[in-house]
């Protein structure tokens, strides 16, 4: 059965647009075969870091993965120390940390079913020379990570680009 609904909007509506400034981002490169090992280490982070803000993972060059984890800045030193220990036995893995990053995330109706949503955000930011360091878009969510001095500008651009309905 097919049902068609007609819906039109001049600007893409979002449910909310949120900025979390001053976070830390760790980026780990590791061989795909070592996914089991690093999965175990991720589980161990629960005790010391408590929670993540964003995690993405995709293939780096052939046979390697890139795992990016955005956390509260207060967890930076703990993460660095743990990674130092874990990397001792994993010479083929590399880890780097970005000290100050800003996270902006938004959610909107049926984002996963509509074309042009990512383009709307990426184009608006590119026009203003704002570089996206990391992005994860899944379901109705779009997460964007920026260098720490660009988050508030990015937030303003996205606020002007998308429409956040308000109650009169």
């Amino acid at each position: 059965m097919e049902t068609i609904a007609v819906y039109w909007e001049a600007r893409v509506k979002v449910y909310s647009l949120t900025e979390k400034p001053g976070l830390a981002m760790g980026v780990l490169f590791f061989p795909t075969q070592r996914t089991g090992y690093w999965s175990g280490r991720l589980m161990e982070l629960e005790a010391s870091l408590n929670r993540f803000e964003l995690v993405t993972c995709h293939g780096a060059e052939e046979g390697r993965m890139q795992l990016s984890v955005v956390i509260e800045a207060s967890g930076r030193d703990t993460l660095l120390k743990l990674m130092d220990d874990w990397l001792q036995g994993e010479p083929s893995a590399q880890f780097m940390i970005e000290e100050q990053v800003d996270l902006v995330f938004l959610h909107g109706p049926h984002f996963q079913d509509r074309f042009g949503i990512a383009d709307t955000a990426f184009s608006a930011l590119a026009k203003n020379n704002i570089r996206i360091m990391l992005s994860g878009c899944a379901g109705t969510s779009m997460y964007l990570v920026f260098a720490g001095d660009e988050g508030s500008t990015a937030m303003k651009i996205l606020t002007d680009t998308f429409l956040i309905p308000t109650v009169a």
């Binding site: 993405t56 079913d113 590119a126 899944a138």
Partner: protein, 189 residues
């Protein structure tokens, strides 16, 4: 352009004992996407369009990306995204139009997104899910967390078996909805 039938399996996993009921994590649910294609593009050279330009091109052709993972560091950019299988030919045309070098594009023609929710921002749950994939040699093509879910792209043909394996480490509600969505939403214009 590299087109692959099956993603690289994961190997060399630490031994994991079967989980006790008390150590399994209770979640709200798991769902599968329809069959999708997975595209990864890397570091465009000067002759190639930027990823922003590629997104614009896909948008102008009404091609939806139900999943996107993008990272940029210095001059190195990598982007992975999913598209409907029906759109694969048009995406390949767009990549060609944008002068993407074949060596910088990798296409996996049959993937599915497994969405597990809620994640509760838990490293333990995330690690457990990845461990299940690694332990059973299921490929992980890409993943991203959203506000409440973990969305993970793997080979479409493995989805049912993966759900069976995940059920050994998580507890699903008794009245869980079918994993597969019974309808499809499409934006026409």
């Amino acid at each position: 352009m590299c087109v692959e039938g099956i993603g690289s399996p994961l190997k060399n996993v630490e031994n994991v004992e079967p989980m006790e009921e008390s150590t399994r994590i209770r979640i709200g649910g798991i769902k599968f996407s329809e069959e999708l294609a997975h595209v990864t593009v890397v570091s465009p050279s000067r002759e190639e369009a930027s990823f922003d330009d590629l997104l614009q091109l896909l948008s102008s052709r009404h091609i939806n990306l139900p999943f996107l993972c993008h990272s940029h560091k210095e001059s190195h950019t990598k982007s992975s995204f999913c598209i409907s299988r029906d759109d694969l030919g048009r995406v390949q045309e767009a990549l060609h139009f944008a002068s993407y070098n074949h060596g910088n594009v990798r296409i996996i023609p049959s993937v599915g997104t497994l969405t597990l929710f809620p994640h509760r921002n838990s490293f333990r749950l995330l690690g457990l899910v990845l461990m299940t994939f690694a332990e059973n040699d299921y490929p992980i093509h890409s993943l991203s967390t959203s506000i409440s879910a973990i969305a993970l792209n793997t080979d479409f043909r493995h989805l049912d078996n993966i759900a069976d394996k995940l059920a050994e480490v998580v507890i699903l509600p008794e009245n869980h909805a079918p994993f597969r969505q019974e309808f499809r939403l499409t934006q026409l214009f």
